[in-house]
């Protein structure tokens, strides 16, 4: 058991390292002339060369990567090309918005999809129909389009929610929640159907399993069957779909942030992209890649905890 955990952990670290390499290669295949972007077209070639030298981008790629990764190991993500601010500070300033939004959305999706799945299994035809229509909406209206529609209807027309801006949790929890209602709604409305269909499907499979019938023959109550036996056995595919949903949500979050003018990672990433600010982008790669790997690891652990057989695999 401990060996398996250790193996998973090592595999995760290797994967993260590989993610960094890929990220570094992708951001480095361009012309590698950030100084021109920073100094503008008026700067002389000599100035540009000097600036490039100062940034260290005129060195071989492997050397640059070595520098960067050893910096990361000691907690230093380097400095942004623009304003020379530490990347870590920049990201730290913008992380709370995105993470509040994504974490809240994941919680809503997890809770709601389970409730919908159970309701639909226990014979509410109308629930089925709601979930099916949500599934169509989820496929047809991406989060940013939903966000635009919600913005138009609730914030601009009805003025029920703040149009723009974000209030930190520390300042006012209620305002924080109010500022996140529409963004979270646009991120969850489409995704909840997928998770719910997944949960419903695997719950149906489990409830048709032989051991459920045998347990019932022993006089185990319906509630115990559902909450103790069925949900536990049905959870793994649902958890996997949640973790996949999490990865997909990051993309949606960046665009939703733009719609609601939230100062999150999306804004940072878009600005960095437009400016060719490689250290910031690498910071984003490290952060998001690390998050995805962490979530997958947690899902693995959860499955091992739920399903004893997974502990031996």
């Amino acid at each position: 058991m401990v060996m398996i955990l250790l193996k998973r952990l090592v595999a995760a670290v290797i994967l993260l390292a590989a993610v960094c390499v890929v990220g570094f290669v992708i951001t480095g295949i361009g012309d590698g002339n950030p100084a021109r972007n920073i100094l503008g077209p008026e700067a002389t070639n000599a100035q540009v060369a000097a600036e490039n030298h100062r940034l260290g981008v005129d060195r071989p790629m492997v050397e640059q990567f070595g520098d960067w990764i050893s910096g990361v190991a000691s907690g230093d993500l380097g400095n942004s090309y623009i304003g020379d601010q530490p990347v870590a500070d920049k990201i730290a300033a913008n992380v709370p918005v995105t993470m509040s939004m994504v974490a809240l959305s994941m919680m809503v999706i997890a809770g709601l999809s389970l409730v919908l799945a159970v309701a639909s299994v226990y014979g509410r035809k109308s629930v089925d129909r709601v979930v099916q229509s949500l599934a169509v909406i989820g496929h047809v209206l991406p989060a940013y389009l939903l966000a635009l529609l919600l913005l138009l209807v609730f914030a601009v027309k009805l003025e029920a929610f703040p149009v723009f801006g974000y209030v930190p949790l520390g300042e006012s929890p209620t305002e924080w929640l109010r500022s996140l209602v529409l963004p979270v709604l646009s991120l969850t409305l489409g995704s909840v159907a997928g998770a719910s269909l997944q949960a419903r499907g695997s719950l149906m499979d489990v409830l048709e399993a032989d051991y459920v019938r045998t347990l019932r023959s022993r006089g185990i109550s319906g509630r115990s069957l559902l909450f103790r036996h069925a949900l536990r056995n049905a959870a793994p595919p649902w958890l996997t779909s949640l973790s996949l949903g999490f990865v997909a949500m990051l993309g949606g979050a960046f665009m939703v942030e733009k719609v609601f003018a939230l100062p999150g990672l999306g804004a940072l990433a878009v600005d960095a992209t437009a400016a060719g600010d490689r250290p910031v982008i690498m910071g984003m790669v490290l952060l998001t890649g690390g998050l995805v790997i962490l979530v997958n690891l947690l899902v693995d652990l959860a499955q091992m905890w739920l399903i004893p057989k997974a502990r031996t695999a």
């Binding site: 994967l15 993610v19 990220g23 992708i26 635009l148 601009v156 347990l215 990051l250 490689r278 982008i281």
Partner: protein, 603 residues
């Protein structure tokens, strides 16, 4: 020899073209209509490029943000005074184009990769799987931004990258599908028939994966279009190309002046994605139907027996020594408008302290009868007629809750497949203790009783087995655990459904001995459901033969095996391989015989 061919099999519809099947689906029809609309726009875009290439760029600075329908602008003008409809139509081209690039790349990478990894497994599989999990650990939006930052805003490059990011999904799907069929025997049969791997993959494997693949392709087309539009919306698209995403961005920026400008590109995108998604859903349903799968899974979440109408005359209660009496039991399932009866007027008697064998072939209704007695019928099953007398009380006319209570108290169930009848997520001990706890027995006492029972079932180390999970014990052991579980609640009746069919004969004989011993010790009555006449002969006092839902013969075991009355019983007994018939050695010449002990060949 054609008696086995049922008329129904020969009248069943044969091949209908897949395309027509898809069109029969109402969802797909809507999808097709939408797709035609989008394709018209595409054609219009191409023609416009050729006839009036400047139209979408023409800015009418005196008519900014016009409402739809004014000044000949069908959908109005945008914040730059340009015609919205013209731009919308032209943008169709870029959007469809981006979808095609991304899909092509995803397929080129994922399709061969998934087939090869799934079919061959081993090292290729490991490497490709690791690569795919690497790509899946990279959030595609961040990768796309990184690529745009280093290589610029070309749609070619970003959509190729998106294709790479989507390839793992294709790879995983195909790999899983191929994995599922790789060990199917028809693949082995094809190998033995001398087919090459390429041919096996093309003929057998691809057939299985094409259904899910169709669905995935169209879902991915939708994803590609929404991601491409999203990139442009973020302002990271190619500024020289008109796209829905770019228009969406302009509409968003001009929201205060023209609040519905963003709706048009949004609608265009939604219609396009919906077209693909609806056709795909319809196609999946159609293919599933054609491949014999059912699209609506049967529900069996709670057992609610439909109330039986109280019959006019109250039938007389059965005799004293009859612990369970079934009269004229009919069980049906709804099939369309009709009801398919799986048990038709079955009558049985279980004598107290005796064993009744319920014999029949597959589809005879024997298991359905057992489930009806156990109150374990699936929810959609209908109890249509009959009486079940348990201990002198007719239970079908009791309230469902009361009936269930009585049945659970009196009757226990031993299932067929030992392994699938234990919950894989709980220890054996937990599963044995849980029913006892539900009956109000204390934890310590319940554990002790479970351990004692396991020991009684011939399990040497009950404590260790109690701590084990089902996957850690053998099939024979699991069946002992299940019998212990059935006996633990001290039932008066045991219904065992093919309890030894999944076991080896040597284990089977031990389990039969165990059932016999348990019966003597606890004074139980047993209904043994089996297709194996040897097993019936071993254990049963009485025999009931079922066929097509009806009991065709009831007799004592002696009579049944010696003097079967019904033609079907005789046919069954005749079908048992004759012990006295032994084929002689084929070769006339004295044959070499190998001694098991020495391995030498005697001539």
């Amino acid at each position: 020899m054609s008696i086995e061919i049922s008329a129904q099999a020969l009248d069943a519809p044969t091949r209908t073209s897949t395309f027509r099947l898809i069109l029969r689906n109402p969802l797909s029809r809507v999808g097709v209509v939408l797709l035609v609309l989008v394709l018209c726009a595409l054609v219009a875009a191409i023609i416009m490029d050729w006839v009036a290439p400047d139209a979408p760029w023409h800015a009418d600075l005196y008519h900014l943000n016009e409402a739809p329908g004014t000044n000949g602008h069908f959908l109005g003008t945008d914040s730059g005074g340009r015609d919205v409809l013209a731009r919308l139509v032209v943008a169709t081209k870029a959007t469809m184009f981006s979808g095609v690039i991304a899909l092509t790349v995803a397929m080129l990478l994922g399709l061969p990769g998934g087939l090869v990894a799934g079919y061959y497994g081993g090292r290729v599989d490991m490497v490709l799987d690791w690569l795919s999990s690497l790509v899946m650990s990279l959030p595609s939006i961040v990768v796309l931004l990184a690529i745009v930052s280093s290589l610029g805003t070309s749609m070619w490059i970003s959509m190729t990258a998106l294709g790479c990011m989507m390839a793992p999904a294709v790879f995983r799907l195909l790999r899983a599908q191929v994995h599922a069929v790789r060990n199917d025997l028809y693949i082995d049969a094809a190998k033995v028939a001398g087919l090459s791997d390429t041919r096996i993959i093309a003929r057998h494997v691809f057939r299985v994966v094409r259904g899910p693949l169709v669905l995935m392709v169209s879902v991915m087309a939708g994803v590609a279009i929404t991601v491409q539009t999203g990139l442009d919306f973020l302002g990271l698209g190619d500024a020289t190309t008109i796209t829905w995403g770019g228009m969406l961005g302009e509409g968003f920026a001009a929201m205060s002046a023209n609040d519905i400008l963003f709706v048009w590109p949004g609608l265009a995108m939604a219609v396009t994605v919906a077209a693909f998604f609806l056709i795909a859903s319809g196609a999946r349903d159609a293919l599933q139907h054609a491949d014999g799968g059912s699209s609506t899974p049967a529900r069996s979440t709670a057992t609610h027996l439909k109330p039986v109408p109280a019959s006019a005359q109250a039938a007389a209660p059965p005799g004293e020594d009859e612990i369970l009496t079934v009269r004229n039991l009919t069980v049906g399932y709804p099939s369309g408008e009709d009801v398919t009866e799986v048990v038709r007027g079955a009558s049985l008697t279980l004598r107290s302290g005796h064993t009744l064998g319920l014999v029949g072939e597959s589809g005879s209704g024997k298991t359905q009868t057992a489930f009806a007695l156990l109150d374990l019928l699936p929810r959609q099953a209908m109890l249509m007629e009959g009486e079940v007398w348990l201990d002198g009380t007719e239970i079908l006319r009791l309230a469902p809750r009361e009936r269930t209570k009585r049945v659970r108290e009196a009757i226990a169930y031993v299932p067929q497949e030992p392994m699938s009848n234990l919950d894989p997520t709980f220890t054996i001990g937990f599963q044995l203790v849980e029913p006892l706890r539900a009956r109000g027995i204390g934890r310590a006492e319940a554990r002790e009783r479970a351990a004692t029972l396991l020991a009684r079932m011939g399990i040497r180390d009950p404590e260790r087995v109690m701590r084990s999970y089902p996957h850690q014990i053998s099939g024979g052991m699991a069946q002992r655990v299940l019998i212990a579980g059935a006996v633990s609640t001290e039932p008066r009746i045991l219904i065992a459904d093919e309890p030894t069919t999944a076991l080896d004969v040597t284990v089977q004989s031990e389990i039969l001995d165990l059932l016999r011993g348990v019966q003597e010790e606890f004074g139980m009555s047993i209904i043994l459901v089996s297709h194996d006449l040897g097993v019936i002969a071993d254990l049963c006092d009485d025999v009931a033969v079922m066929r097509n839902g009806q009991v065709v013969e009831t007799a004592s075991a002696e009579d049944f095996f010696a003097r079967p009355r019904h033609e079907y019983s005789r046919m069954l007994l005749d079908a048992v391989p004759d012990e006295n018939h032994v084929r002689p050695e084929y070769v006339e010449a004295p044959s070499p015989r190998r001694s098991a002990k020495t391995g030498e060949i005697h001539r």
